[in-house]
Symmetry: C2
Subunit: 235 residues, 2 copies
């Protein structure tokens, strides 16, 4: 079992998030990476007040989860954490320099060329759903996402993964794309839908997600506080 209270690898996660954010908090990316490379880790659960506290801001200036520490290195940003985990043990990053550069390229492509557009759909449908402009704006947001998915679909083609074996680049790209499940947009690109399904079928993903969701099993669905924009959820 990769979760071990004595593990030297520690990440932060939330004690509670709203229903719609369960399964999507970014600490799931770190959990998945640990599972892929077979490293034991522990999770320090914190609440919204703590993540915004000065003590925690020292490690995560934007007041989000996850943060990561392993005794030698203390960092934030799920993409940087996933790269760091990938560098600890084989499984998520090729050993050759070219394969390594490609893996990092796909991490950054997911986070800078795909996620910012995907996240706008959550802005329109969730965080600014009550704003007068959201309904008007939605079609252009969807069209931009569709254009990015088209390009990515062409790049993936009939390959299993973006570049050879499953890598940290796929881990982050699948994590970003699965935020689109509810929108139905993935289904318009069958190879991307199948790619995400392959990622989600991986035993490491399954274990990571089960452990993440187990966090909330006794937490209940009722919001303990008002949250205008959940922290750590892409926005």
């Amino acid at each position: 079992m990769p979760i071990d209270p004595d593990a030297k690898y520690e990440i932060t996660g939330f004690k509670w998030v709203p229903d719609f954010a369960r399964g999507f908090v970014r600490e799931t990316r770190a959990r998945w990476a640990f599972e892929e490379v077979g490293l034991s880790y522990k999770v320090r659960l914190i609440d919204f007040d703590e993540v915004k506290s000065q003590a925690q801001r020292h490690f995560q200036p934007f007041g989000q989860v996850p943060t990561y520490s392993d005794g030698d290195v203390e960092i934030f940003e799920s993409g940087a954490i996933a790269i760091r985990i990938a560098e600890q043990r084989l499984g998520l990053m090729p050993l050759d320099m070219a394969g390594r550069a490609h893996a990092i390229q796909w991490v950054i492509a997911a986070l800078n060329s795909v996620e910012p557009f995907v996240a706008q759909l959550s802005v329109v449908d969730l965080f600014e759903a009550d704003k007068p402009w959201s309904a008007e704006r939605r079609p252009s947001v969807v069209e931009t996402i569709r254009s990015r998915l088209h390009d990515l679909s062409e790049a993936l083609g009939d390959k299993q993964w973006l570049d050879g074996n499953f890598s940290v680049g796929d881990l982050i790209m699948v994590s970003v794309l699965r935020e689109l499940h509810a929108s139905g947009l993935l289904k318009e690109f069958p190879n991307l839908a199948a790619y995400v399904a392959r990622g989600e079928a991986r035993p490491a993903y399954q274990r990571a997600m089960a452990d993440h969701l187990a966090t909330f099993q006794d937490a209940g669905p009722t919001p303990p506080l008002s949250v205008s924009q959940p922290i750590g959820v892409p926005a």
Copy 2:
């Protein structure tokens, strides 16, 4: 002179971009990185048609610049390219693992926790300026950017750079923040304004920007084609 037609390092840039995009095309980030580490490079200038061509999409699925090749590695994404350049020679990345992880963390923080919000201002003010919702939406876009700048300002404090010596993380963060010059928002956070000014004062930055702008000196300001959203400009 780091620009050398026989250099093994090659990046792509645009033959022409509209006035407002000059100085902000993302190939400037790669130029700056080459200058910082003292590596000679060459630039292959392409036009909008070529960047969207199948041949070029093979290297850059989203039809943007820059792409990068050095004989061993061929990648896209300015952040990944800057990291790759930083790994070629001393100057942009510490040698110790912790310093290295921090540099990568700040690259990703700039690209995923700051730029997506900054880019929405260009969406509102440029790309969707004619849309009915843009004026209504602008204050919330500005408020979100201000919140991120506040957090980043606290993280920087009175330090010169984000983590010790100038790193690839600072290079990308300064590149992202300077997109806010026209908005006046940086001035609200004097330490961030000074941080960006320190970055822009670096001789490597000055050379990179001069070479980038020289590309367009004979190109003229009149658009040769209609561009709804300039390619390679943050959007």
